[in-house]
Symmetry: C2
Subunit: 183 residues, 2 copies
Amino acid sequence: MKFCSHCGSAVTRRVPPGDSLPRAVCDACGSIHYVNPKLVLGSIPVWEERGKESGQARLLLCRRAIEPRYGYWTLPAGFMENDESAGQAAERETLEEAGARIELLGAFSMISVPYVNQVHVFFRARLLDLQFKPGVESLEVALFEEAKMPWKEIAFRTVGLTLKHWFADRARGAFGFHAEDIR
Amino acid sequence: MKFCSHCGSAVTRRVPPGDSLPRAVCDACGSIHYVNPKLVLGSIPVWEERGKESGQARLLLCRRAIEPRYGYWTLPAGFMENDESAGQAAERETLEEAGARIELLGAFSMISVPYVNQVHVFFRARLLDLQFKPGVESLEVALFEEAKMPWKEIAFRTVGLTLKHWFADRARGAFGFHAEDIR
């Protein structure tokens, strides 16, 4: 049983007039309670030594201190909040989870995950310094070059896909935008 | 005053343990009610006569039959629903509002609108036929070439920006991805 957040009465699930899908409708006050997918925003923080070979780019990953996927590695990411833009959400999550300051370089991936009603968006980013440290949701934070990426310990498929696209795009010398679905 | 959707008790607004922002928290059952930005998904449906000059591309717009912005022109778009991907949402809204069948060509723009807690995403699309017709939320649906676009009667800034990027990208011969904010 669900209740109306506006008046506290019980809600029923039915198709409102003019709509095509069933919604939680309050028979007492008439409120319709929509439920929509949530946006998860993250970044791909990259550290490149100046003057080094292009193979030396290293990416910042966080090892999760929370469920789901405790102990697995992820890019810094989390639920976008009200009153912020997508880019601000990516910067905030990177600071909260990795203590890392970044400069955003452009949107890179948008992956729909309809079975959990989420859309994950990642921005490419330049790590501004090496003063990162784990936030309360991370066990550790570390830089990985491509040959040492913990591919078998990546927390989420959206993160694994985004990392694979990043290395592939970098190898061909041009970063695109990747929109896809996980089913 | 707000109420808990899980138990119907009154909620209070405070920062839950381990969080950094105030949330609607139920003191009776402990539920935390998060509110996050909503995704609006739409398409840029394009009709191009084969063999014609490139200037002859025409874009499908809908004139709104609902508030806000009743009577103004928009690209077909609307709130993404649970259990669908971003691309499916764009196709569904295009069918609902314009009666139009499309083939998606790629994600094109993602515009954050933090003052209404929305993120608008548009896909480039090819209109499959000319059998479009207005849905219940549209007064009329029509094709416009660039010289005849109703620029002063566009319903939303996210739509105007997306259209301008589309014509600019087309003129330079390459479609990019455009992530930005409206403040």
